[in-house]
């Protein structure tokens, strides 16, 4: 027993340090750093490069990698990215960090090479010394982890509680705006916080490397586990996060003792423990408090008062709505029409392999439309659409191949199986704040991925399940057009929904739940409705994707891959049907083009571009498509009107007291621009 506890404490210690880093950045900036694992990997890989590949000693390598490189990355990221995001919506914060999650490992590969590293040294000299405590072996690496956890807790608590720096950090947590008015620069404090946070990421990375190897996927999963401790700490309490992190490590170790070691279920249950902890903690808090969400608020009343209208909600700013009011039908539909024509014609021009890729691109487009529904229209930050797509794909392939159903019926049935799951997750997450909704949906995806998608009926010895295509669309070209037609049907439905009474009500719920309720709209009904529809669409898209790829592989529906899909979509635009199509084409074609026509080393460039694009949403939350569209329309208007055109802006609450604004004119705003 003691042996398991000691081993669990080492793993728990790494969870604890990671969760400390996550909590520190969350309380000071409102950002739950999904890239924490990727950054931990980068620092650990740098340490490995210095210590193992360049033969540096442990101490200088650790000082340079953890003590200098980590904080320097934190400072750099704050300077170029995070300082612009303090007032951004949760979606933008998540997407920007997901951009980093995608880009950082690829940057590491570009710098350090793509060598697979199964075992990496920790901070202990090799061969690692082993002590015996009460007859139980304890490695020096484990002792170092315990010491680091202890130092984190003691030094962290002492600095926060007793020092001037700690006072400033606590003041900034309460209200950055008031801290600024009191003469302390919130930026200076934030830079320090981000430096410390990435220091913790690096420390956790180097300590974890001997246990999990140097694989970015493992690092991301490690941090996903640390999310459980962060959720238990209600995103804010450092001691609770550290404590729960330690307990979770011990729990994981102890469960391994009692489960049969030769069962597949053991691995699946052990991997799922952190996500079960998240589910239990959220359900407990939900039952006890009725709702969860206050913890997400960053800053005080003054900080909230200066958030520009529209930036406090999901799915971009109000700039699109303002623009929509100032352009004609031609300006609104010219770009989308051109893209649709191009998407229709290109499969006829290209040949062979590329035609099949277009079928996949359109299938991805359908899945992306499910996010257009749930995030763009519903305003809910869902991260598990890929899971519904997986459910659709696996169900459709089972029904079509193993039960002889007609393919299209099987695909629709796959969507219908996903639909009730969407309804249930939607209902359970009604009373949660935006970030908790993200975490619940992420947890649902990870649980499904670990407990359901791993069943052999789906995995089939790693081969997946074959998927057929309808007889009338057996060729790549005909199936490509069938996929495009399916995309068009879903897109038209969403277009109709957006302009219908249902769309008005959804819009109302998205922007103000209290006002929607007191207008007579059932928030629960609308949210559950859009959640179910989105799951249905994702399931159908998954079925089409499986048919395009001619097999359904559970491994293609990893939850974190879905977060990357969302990042790609948000980068292009989450509120536009055409953006979903463009995102699907970009997501499939860019890597394929790089692979086909560029040198091998450039294979890591598309992920970096996707990552940088996602980071770009911090500056332009409506996505690149809307951004380019706005620039194009303004160019046209300025040519036509020959009148000055104002830049995109948002009206601050309380920006005027007149009853009726200036008569709107083409190309001009109704109010003064007050872009932050």
């Amino acid at each position: 027993m003691l042996q398991y506890v000691i081993a669990g404490l080492a793993l728990g210690g790494i969870y604890a340090i990671a969760s400390a880093g996550l909590v520190i950045t969350y309380v000071s900036s409102g950002i739950l750093n999904f890239a924490f694992g990727a950054l931990a990997y980068f620092v650990a890989r740098f340490y490995y490069y210095l210590h193992t590949q360049q033969n540096w000693g442990i101490l200088p390598a650790a000082v340079v990698a953890i003590g200098l490189c980590g904080p320097a990355i934190g400072i750099l990221l704050y300077g170029v990215l995070f300082r612009y995001m303090r007032l951004s919506s949760p979606l933008i914060k998540v997407v920007a960090t997901v951009g980093l999650l995608v880009a950082v490992p690829s940057v590491a590969t570009l710098i350090f090479g793509n060598q697979a590293i199964q075992s990496a040294p920790g901070l202990a000299p090799e061969p690692v010394r082993v002590f015996h405590v009460l007859g139980v072996p304890v490695t020096l690496d484990q002792v170092i982890v315990y010491c680091c956890v202890l130092a984190t807790v003691l030094i962290g608590a002492a600095v926060l509680r007793y020092t001037d720096v700690g006072l400033k950090v606590r003041a900034m947590v309460d209200s950055p705006a008031m801290t600024g008015l009191s003469g302390t620069s919130p930026n200076a404090v934030s830079v320090g916080v981000w430096a410390v946070s990435i220091f913790f990421a690096g420390l956790a990375g180097v300590l974890a490397a001997p246990i999990i190897g140097l694989d970015p996927v493992n690092f991301t999963l490690l941090v996903a586990a640390a999310f459980a401790a962060v959720v238990a700490a209600k995103l804010r309490s450092l001691p609770i996060a550290v404590g729960v992190g330690l307990l979770m490590g011990i729990l994981t170790s102890l469960i391994q003792r009692y489960l049969p070691s030769n069962s597949n279920w053991t691995t699946e249950i052990v991997d799922a423990i952190p996500f079960m902890v998240i589910a239990v903690v959220l359900i407990y808090n939900l039952v006890r408090r009725g709702s969860i969400g206050d913890g997400e608020r960053v800053g005080g009343p003054l900080d909230r008062a200066i958030i520009p209208q529209g930036e406090s909600r999901l799915a971009g700013s109000t700039a699109s709505a303002l623009d929509a009011g100032s352009i004609g039908l031609l300006g609104r539909y010219l770009g989308p029409a051109l893209l649709l024509v191009a998407a229709s014609v290109l499969p006829l021009i290209v040949q062979g392999f590329w035609v099949g890729l277009f079928a996949q691109a359109f299938a991805y487009g359908i899945i992306f439309l499910s996010w257009t529904l749930v995030v763009g229209e519903g305003g809910m930050l869902w991260l598990c659409q890929i899971t519904f797509a997986g459910v659709g794909a696996l169900t459709a392939s089972q029904l079509a191949v193993n039960h002889g159903w007609p393919v299209l019926a099987a695909i629709v049935a796959g969507g219908l199986v996903a639909l009730p799951m969407g309804l249930i997750v939607g209902f359970l997450s009604i009373r949660l704040g935006d970030l908790y909704v993200a975490l619940v949906t992420l947890t649902f995806g990870l649980l499904m991925e670990n407990l359901v998608f791993t069943q052999n009926i789906f995995v089939n010895q790693g081969l997946g399940v074959n998927m057929t295509r309808p007889a009338f669309a057996g060729t790549d070209l005909s199936f490509t057009y069938l996929s495009l037609a399916a995309f068009a049907v879903v897109a038209l439905f969403i277009m109709n929904l957006r302009r219908s009474s249902t769309g008005l009500a959804l819009n109302a719920v998205r922007w103000s739940e209290p006002a929607a309720k007191t207008t007579g709209i059932s928030v629960v009904q609308m949210k559950v409705l859009v959640a179910g529809l989105a799951a249905l669409v994702a399931g159908i898209g998954g079925g089409f994707l499986a048919a395009a790829q001619t097999s359904a592989q559970p491994g293609n529906f990893d939850t974190f891959a879905g977060v990357i899909w969302l990042a790609v979509l948000v980068t292009v635009g989450v509120r536009s049907n055409v953006a979903a199509l463009l995102a699907g084409i970009t997501f499939v074609m860019l890597p394929a083009l790089a692979q086909a026509y560029l040198p091998t080393w450039t294979a890591n460039i598309p992920p970096v571009l996707f990552g940088l694009g996602a980071i770009g949403v911090a500056k332009f939350p409506d996505g690149t498509l809307a951004q380019q569209g706005q620039l194009f329309r303004r160019f046209l208007q300025s040519r036509v009107d020959r009148r000055p055109v104002t830049l995109s802006g948002v009206a601050l609450a309380g920006d005027g007291a007149g009853m009726v604004p200036t008569e709107p004119t083409s190309g001009t705003r109704l109010t003064e621009d007050v872009s932050p």
Partner: protein
């Protein structure tokens, strides 16, 4: 009313001027709260507060900051559950009803900080509110029906266009509300409330932040709405501009530290010693609307 309700009202000082302010109203109140208390942890935000809103009248609710006015609005609209007490709409106990159900039964409200749907235009706000009340099934059926995009009823158009004209919003009817200044935003909120043809509207500081002309226009709109005999509407108004409340209201309730310290006609409230001591001060200077006021800013 039950005997318990009578007893609740008996707790306040009776008014015997025959205006219906101090005695139990002759007609049944359209909206009433009986002995409502709200606690937030150890803080008692409201203590046994009872208010009644008669049909077709403007009722004022005043009190210093922190008196519990917005909390009471939260309880009346269903956004807050009272610790104890009852809320009745047209005699029906709605204490346990959700905000949306209350809205469908004829209760509308505005907010201290305008809560608009930033993705919608001015007209869409009114259309949505009208449909929620009178064509509710369209919220679920429209998305399946392409013809629904063009299917606005004559009654809906008349109602919405009439309100846009009444509120002088026709010129900005198709403008996104995100582009509107505060004063216009308040009008849109009022329009959204009126579009549902409610029996009662709770107005939370509707004149706050408006300039003199805007304030006068809006108070005139309130008078016209209440004077409309085709559909009887009552207004319960929280407002810091006490002078405006005194000028508009037939009955005023005064809250202080979560307790009802006075109720009655404007004249009675103006001379109530408890109100003067707690709120108005010894003198009531002339306000921007030409009647008695607390101070130049309208704040107590």
């Amino acid at each position: 009313m039950t005997s318990a309700d009578d007893a609740a009202f008996a707790k306040g000082a009776p008014f015997a001027d025959g205006t219906g302010a101090g005695t139990a109203p002759a007609v049944a109140p359209v909206l009433a709260a009986y002995e409502v208390s709200v606690r937030f942890g150890g803080l008692r935000a409201l203590s046994d507060v009872s208010v009644e809103v008669p049909p077709g009248r403007i009722v004022g609710l005043v009190g210093p900051n922190g008196a519990g006015k917005t909390t009471l609005f939260g309880v009346l609209s269903g956004l807050l559950r009272p610790t104890s007490g009852r809320v009745c709409l047209r005699g029906e106990d709605i204490t346990a009803a959700s905000p949306q159900l209350r809205a469908r039964k004829g209760l509308a409200r505005t907010f201290q900080q305008p809560e608009l749907f930033l993705g919608l235009t001015v007209r869409e706000h009114l259309v949505l509110a009208h449909r929620v009340r009178f064509a509710r099934s369209r919220l679920l059926t429209d998305m399946w029906n392409p013809r629904a995009l063009f299917g606005t009823s004559k009654a809906e158009n008349e109602r919405v266009d009439g309100l846009l004209e009444l509120l002088d919003l026709t010129r900005v009817a198709r403008a996104p509300v995100a582009s509107l200044p505060l004063g216009t935003s308040r009008l849109v909120e009022v329009g959204r409330a009126l579009a549902a043809q409610p029996d009662v509207i709770l107005l939370d500081e509707p004149l706050s932040g408006l300039d003199l002309r805007a304030s006068e226009n809006l108070t005139e709109v309130f008078r016209r709405v209440v004077a409309n005999r085709e559909h009887e509407v009552s207004l319960l108004m929280v407002e810091h501009d006490v002078a405006a409340v005194l000028a508009l209201s037939s009955t005023i309730f005064v809250l202080d530290f979560g307790e009802l310290i006075a109720r009655g006609s404007p004249e009675q409230v103006r001379h109530d010693p408890a109100v003067r001591a707690a709120y108005l001060g010894e003198e009531a200077p002339v306000s921007r609307t030409g009647t008695a006021s607390t101070n130049g800013s309208g704040e107590p």
